[in-house]
Assembly symmetry: C2
């Protein structure tokens, strides 16, 4: 989805509008229009957020804070990468020590504070401690995150100096600034909020995210921060986050690489109604959260480095869901499939080539492949599609590749993008 | 290794000369100079080969035959892709039925005869049967192979008509023609031969290969055909081929995709001395074969689609060899590492990011990363290298990235190339 010649905020609005129209929102959900999302129109009651420039990235916002007026229930999922970054280690420990009661999230962009050894650990703790001092809360009530280049010491002095700007910035309650301050190679800020009509009240869920390169699901694959005014016990919040994450941020891929810094966190501030496990409200809330997270995840794919297409890889008829996921991920990550998507080439041979090496169980003779509703391959290797019809679909910004394995009822959906020359351009010179 | 502005044969000579100088050939091995490789100067005694134009690819050679004057011992390894092509199925059956005694290999390029169903099976059998009739041998004494586009019926008529040209072409004993006839997106023909001084005689081993896209080790990853005049029992030949293959064709990667058609076959014609299992000659022969196969495999990486660099990923100190291989393969296949290699960017953060998600066991604090002899990362995340020295290495056409995991004695070597815009260009429009 190339959205050129518009400024980043217009890009964000355009991406949100396109996606919002495609997303099958539950009935109980009302979308917060993106153009109404700033100046207090975005964050749920009890939350404020800010984005300021600490000077890590030249002249761009690079330090974000989300603050809850009172202790909030928190849950988070983190990267499974063995080389996880210092802030990931510190945030996990803080969740543990504070019994999942949190007051704020502090996050910088431009430097990942990863592979920075003992100094990195001290820096991540300092960043949390200084934020806690500023807000008058305990250090373990702060979640800390970083994103950017790996292996370079965190410019802690710049971050600590910039913290002084946070209180004033919080008063502006800007969602744009916060979403912008966590961007790295993202080309537009990613934010979205929904209102959910529960049985007796309405709650808001709002989220910001960043992604772009190094996006491969194996937990979170990027940064996502969600807040809600609902009151939810940490245990239920964690169940909901993990489950929704598996179908959203973990179901996208840009380049198959999993970052050292991935984190998705949610804070439930408790100013709104209380949501009990097993209640109809819990189901309503969960579905809204899941759709919001899928929405933010797709925004990340749309803004994948060099990406021009958002393609859903849907696998059905697998022996089980695990097998379906293997098949879908292998197709979604295949460089040959991704370049064919980029070239708008109906090269289904590459799709079955990827399926064949995925490890999923199937009989090649049973395979069915469709682009949207157009049958490309039918059982017995019958392939009689119209190249023109295929071209019409492949030239769209967004479509579905459906694969039926003919084994059982296992299924999986993964969202991917194309592999373009711009991806190589961007990643050939990221560090220098 | 971009070798522009020269014709394909000059490219081949240049690539061979560059690699030959780098390869640590065993003492017993004498290289056959590539410029002497045509007109009877290449094939071992008892073998002839030909490459002709069947018209599958417009105006280019696309049908290859290698013929043994008498029944030859044969061994082969095949793709593990579940969607393997018809010729793979047929060749496996022929090896079984003929008790590994073979007379010829027939191979077309331009069409993979993969995902072609029952008709594809009939076509592959016809291709073998017609070749056997031409040579006056049994159909099961023919290995048949195809490479090219997937899912399009094999133009069998063209192949059968072109078979008539094979006898005359065989008389020319051209290695260039044969190597050229199996090319797809390769930019130069790949061939090399060596003489091996055994205890009482000298034997020749000669091989041709093709690769380019869809190259990922999981067996053979491409086509490789080897012949020798030595006399070797099929069982020993198979052991040698499998073992050498694991360290050569299975240790290279261009884009992580494994083809439906991969095959590496060797024929031992029996005109030369007999090599017994466990003898010093067997070891000499094996080492020569292994080095020749590594050499051909590296030629494939050098000619990887859009590739400009040949990079050896060497992992040591792993818990075991399997863990080392996981680590090496993950780094070698990472799009982020491959674009950094392309951009000549000393971005070691991406290397440890890939290591961290590889599943290999290690303590991140113990990691050592070197570019050739230059330490980039030392234990405790100490990274004090000179950017200029790193740049000098990264600007070379070929270098080694060494990784030490600090766990045990497991090790693995994988060869990879960079990911360039040309890769996207080539693969965005392969089929159409």
């Amino acid at each position: 989805m190339i959205l050129k010649d518009v400024n980043t905020l217009q890009k964000a609005f355009a991406a949100v509008e396109t996606l919002a129209a495609q997303t099958p929102w539950p009935d109980a959900v009302t979308l917060v229009k993106p153009e109404h999302a700033d100046n207090g129109g975005f964050w749920p009651q009890g939350f404020r957020a800010a984005g300021v420039s600490a000077g890590i990235k030249s002249k761009r916002k690079d330090l974000m804070a989300i603050v809850s007026d009172k202790p909030a229930s928190a849950a988070a999922v983190f990267t499974t990468n063995l080389c996880c970054a210092a802030p990931v280690v510190v945030s996990k420990a803080h969740l543990e020590c504070s019994a999942s009661s949190m007051r704020a999230i502090i996050c910088n962009s431009g430097n990942a504070n990863a592979a920075t050894g003992d100094q990195g650990m001290r820096d991540a703790r300092s960043m949390a401690a200084s934020t806690s001092a500023l807000l008058g809360v305990k250090p373990e009530e702060i979640l800390v995150a970083s994103t950017g280049v790996i292996g370079v010491p965190l410019p802690l002095d710049k971050i600590l100096a910039a913290l002084d700007m946070i209180p004033d910035a919080l008063e502006r309650e800007s969602c744009f600034d916060a979403a912008e301050a966590i961007m790295t190679t993202d080309t537009f800020p990613k934010f979205f909020a929904v209102d959910v009509r529960l049985s007796n009240a309405t709650v808001r869920i709002a989220g910001i995210a960043k992604g772009s390169g190094m996006i491969c699901p194996n937990m979170a694959t990027m940064l996502g921060f969600l807040v809600t005014d609902a009151s939810i016990e940490p245990e239920l919040l964690k169940l909901m986050l993990q489950s929704a994450n598996a179908e959203s941020f973990n179901a996208i891929t840009v380049d198959g690489d999993t970052s050292t810094n991935d984190m998705v966190a949610i804070l439930a501030g408790g100013n709104g109604p209380c949501i009990q496990q097993g209640s109809p409200d819990a189901e309503l809330f969960y579905q809204a959260l899941r759709h919001l997270m899928i929405f933010l995840a797709k925004l990340i794919v749309i803004d994948g480095e060099g990406a021009t297409k958002l393609v859903e890889i849907s696998v059905e008829g697998a022996r089980d869901n695990h097998d379906a996921e293997r098949a879908a991920r292998t197709v979604a990550n295949s460089s040959l499939v991704k370049t064919a998507i980029h070239g708008e080439d109906a090269n289904w041979g590459r799709i079955i080539g990827a399926l064949g090496r995925s490890g999923a169980h199937f009989n090649p003779e049973d395979l069915v492949v469709r682009f949207n509703d157009l049958a490309i391959l039918e059982p017995g290797f019958i392939s009689n599609f119209s190249e023109d019809e295929a071209k019409t679909i492949l030239s769209k910004n967004s479509y579905v590749i459906s694969i039926v394995l003919g084994q059982g009822s296992g299924k999986s959906v993964i969202w991917t993008c194309d592999l373009s020359k711009e991806y190589v351009e961007i990643n050939g010179s990221y560090r220098t």
